[in-house]
């Protein structure tokens, strides 16, 4: 089995590095592996039909709509106005924009419950603004992946609903259980990010001011601009007025969701129509030609995500089929460890599996395997749910297979290595929170137990 796993990892990395688009590579690898089990004919039939049924899912419908909404927000100038407003209020802190990105992603993730959607939307809106403010690529990636990874911890979350269903747990309690870890994550992300951003400015600002880095003239100007905040402060009122219609977007969306007018995924369509109306009739920055371009661009991004969903589903299916995770966990349980050792080892396994699997595949594989262990060990189900959710979030942003990483890299035109480097920050923070939750279960269970 060890040899099989090593072989799998090496092949996986080779396919990823070959330059073949990742979605196609994953699917190809999945079909090739399944062929070794059941022959080419069955393997290809099963994979193609699996691919189709993975796409036949109402959860995914929100993706193209939120991508389109995000592109409209940046194309109509709403995004820029929003960031100008944020800047005029956060003039005192250079890390303000990064923290604003994380907080907005938190709100956005909370609304949509999907990390993919949150990462692509925030990626489209925030990347140009962060770049203009002189952030390095890895810092941009750190801000957006961190924000995107909040999706399934902060309620409502699709992952929690699935967990509640599979384990007979109160979904309301699960939602409550995510609140403290979610807030903890936002705080830790913001603190860590501020530290690195301030260090980044300390290190890059002087040479930039001398003009040594000719390639970054635009950021130079912006950095200097930031250093002299006085004119920005004066325009605070104006900035707010300019940004009003942009600010109304999240108000309408969140308000609509919480007042029960529409569901979280319907909010995407409402956002599209709202942004079009503002772009055409209020800001008058949108033309039919621009709308056409934005539609084509959003379509291409959606197709890219679709190809990755297909590849991930095909590869996930073969991993289930081969029962590799089963064998791994059975081996561990046979080791006769102490509860803490067992818990840490299970987390290690989930982490490693999560490196190679997507969210749904990880959930469907791990929960049926782990539920008997939870019951046997007498662990608190809510506590374990939060541990599971944190691991699922990690899976999204851990290389080599991390959907959010690919989206951020592609949308922000940031080299994947830089994105992975940036993602180390949220990964480290999630691991820290995970350790805290393992050691102090009260972080997860206090609110739901006192409801």
């Amino acid at each position: 089995m060890t040899i099989y796993i090593i072989g799998f990892v090496i092949t996986f990395l080779l396919v990823m590095a070959s330059g073949l688009p990742v979605g196609f590579g994953l699917g190809f690898l999945g079909i090739a592996l399944l062929t070794t089990y059941i022959g080419l004919d069955s393997a290809t039939s099963i994979s193609v039909e699996k691919a189709y049924s993975a796409m036949d899912s109402s959860i995914l419908v929100a993706i193209p709509l939120f991508v389109l909404a995000a592109q409209l927000i940046s194309e109509t100038g709403m995004g820029k106005r929003l960031f100008d407003a944020a800047k005029s209020f956060l003039w005192w802190s250079k890390s303000g924009l990064g923290v604003a990105t994380i907080s907005s992603s938190g709100v956005f993730s909370a609304m949509t419950g999907s990390s993919f959607v949150s990462a692509s939307t925030m990626g489209l809106i925030a990347t140009p603004e962060l770049r203009r403010a002189g952030y390095s690529d890895s810092l941009i990636a750190a801000s957006i992946t961190a924000g995107g990874s909040l999706g399934s911890v902060i309620p409502p979350s699709i992952v929690m609903i699935i967990y509640g269903y599979l384990t007979d747990e109160s979904i309301g309690k699960l939602f409550m259980a995510g609140i403290v870890p979610g807030i903890l994550l936002i705080l830790l992300y913001s603190l860590a990010l501020s530290f690195f951003i301030n260090r980044h400015y300390r290190m890059t600002a002087p040479p930039l001011q001398v003009g040594a880095a000719a390639t970054r003239t635009e950021s130079t100007r912006e950095v200097n601009h930031e250093a002299a905040p006085a004119p920005e402060r004066l325009s605070k009122r104006k900035a707010l007025k300019e940004a009003f219609w942009g600010l109304m977007a999240p108000v309408i969306i969140l308000g609509g969701i919480y007042l029960g007018v529409f569901t979280a995924s319907e909010a995407a369509a409402i956002a599209v129509v709202y942004c079009m109306l503002v772009g055409f009739f209020i800001y008058r920055t949108l033309t039919l030609k621009k709308l056409g371009n934005v539609l084509m661009e959003a379509t291409a991004v959606s197709a890219m995500v679709g190809v990755i969903v297909v590849g991930g589903a095909v590869l996930g299916h073969v991993v289930s089929f081969g029962r590799i995770p089963q064998q791994l966990l059975e081996t561990i349980i046979a080791l006769d460890l102490s509860p803490l050792q067992l818990m840490l080892l299970i987390n290690l396994c989930l982490f490693v599996l999560g490196m190679f699997l997507e969210v749904m595949a990880l959930m469907y594989l791990a929960i049926p395997l782990l539920v008997p262990i939870i019951a046997y060990m007498g662990w608190d189900n809510i506590w374990f749910a939060v541990i599971m959710l944190l691991n699922v979030n990690l899976a999204l942003i851990t290389p080599p297979m991390g959907g959010v990483l690919f989206v951020v890299s592609h949308i922000g035109s940031i080299p994947i290595v830089k994105v992975m480097k940036g993602a180390m920050l949220p990964i480290a923070m999630i691991l820290l929170v995970l350790l805290l939750v393992v050691l102090f279960p009260g972080i997860a269970t206090w609110i739901p137990n006192n409801m």
Partner: protein, 304 residues
């Protein structure tokens, strides 16, 4: 020893899942050396939406089917899932016998599936957020989350606003936020899905009775030695009888637990039920007319 892959979905602690685990163990013991069934639980390979296609295609040997999900491929199953037509689980269990069972089995075999055994679960009830349903008039403008075409049709005729725009996974939030007023669920499933947390008014109305069927790909089934087939069927028969007992026991148990958790339980009055049946009858008949003489016969058998 032939390895047989069985794909299932749903909570592993559900009584149907536990009975299935016992069935697998029993078959594996009795047929040791000939076949060995391996279960892939929790939707790892296929979920309820895709299972019938996977079994019919032979992508998995045995699959666990949820009857309302299979009706697109096997319309005859609608005949044993008619909304408001059955008043108790025993009534449904009678239909899964004799001539009507033969019609269903035949319809499944035409779609390359062999029915091994059926598990019964408790009936579908109405969970609503603003008060229980006591008269036909209470259906007026009720935004009820409906998933079956015939149910949607009948609810419209009852004056409700059946809403199929919200996927299963979002129903909990939709009820919680007030996007919808009511949803349809069995008491056991409703307890698992925590429906009573967001829609505490539980009206017992026995809308319909879904069944969970263990079915095998027909080619694979025909390739098995006869004694193995016999082992599977007779063990299945026992599980089917067991599920009937357990379904009723679990319904009672979870009814009590839901009530303890704050669910307000009422019974839909029999006199009002007559009015509902009258309206439904036309819809049943339309279905039978559209699906040929066997459907007509099945309708007669179901209504006996």
């Amino acid at each position: 020893e032939i390895e047989i892959k069985l794909a299932s979905w749903g909570p592993p602690s559900h009584f149907v899942a536990q009975a299935r685990a016992d069935w697998i163990e029993e078959v594996n013991e009795a047929a040791a050396g000939k076949i060995r069934i391996i279960e892939y639980p929790g939707g790892q390979l296929y979920d309820d939406k895709d299972m019938h296609n996977a079994v019919a295609r032979g992508h998995v040997d045995i699959g666990v089917l949820l009857s309302p999900r299979v009706m697109g491929m096997v319309p005859m199953l609608q005949g044993v899932y008619l909304p408001f037509a059955f008043d108790s689980l025993e009534h449904v269990a009678e239909v899964y016998q004799g001539e009507s069972l033969a019609i269903i089995e035949d319809a499944l075999e035409q779609r390359r599936m062999k029915l091994i055994y059926t598990s019964f679960v408790d009936g579908v009830q109405i969970y609503s957020s603003n008060g229980n349903i006591e008269t036909v008039e209470d259906f007026e403008n009720l935004r009820v989350l409906s998933t079956s075409p015939m149910g949607t049709n009948i609810f419209s005729r009852l004056g409700a606003s059946p809403d199929s725009s919200i996927p299963q996974i979002e129903q909990y939030m939709a009820l919680r936020l007030g996007v919808a007023d009511a949803s349809l669920n069995s008491i056991v499933n409703g307890y698992f899905q925590q429906t009573h947390e967001v829609a505490p008014h539980l009206t017992r109305i026995n809308l319909s009775f879904p069944t969970i069927m263990v079915a095998m790909n027909l080619n694979k089934w025909e390739s098995l030695p006869e004694d193995v087939q016999e082992i599977m069927l007779s063990a299945g028969e026992r599980m089917q009888a067991r599920s009937l007992q357990e379904a009723m026991a679990w319904e009672a148990k979870f009814l009590a637990e839901s009530a303890e958790d704050g669910a307000i339980v009422t019974e839909f009055p029999a006199s009002e039920m007559e009015r509902v049946r009258e309206i439904s009858h036309g819809v049943w008949q339309e279905w039978a007319d559209a699906n040929g003489p066997e459907a007509q016969r099945l309708l007669e058998l179901s209504l006996q």
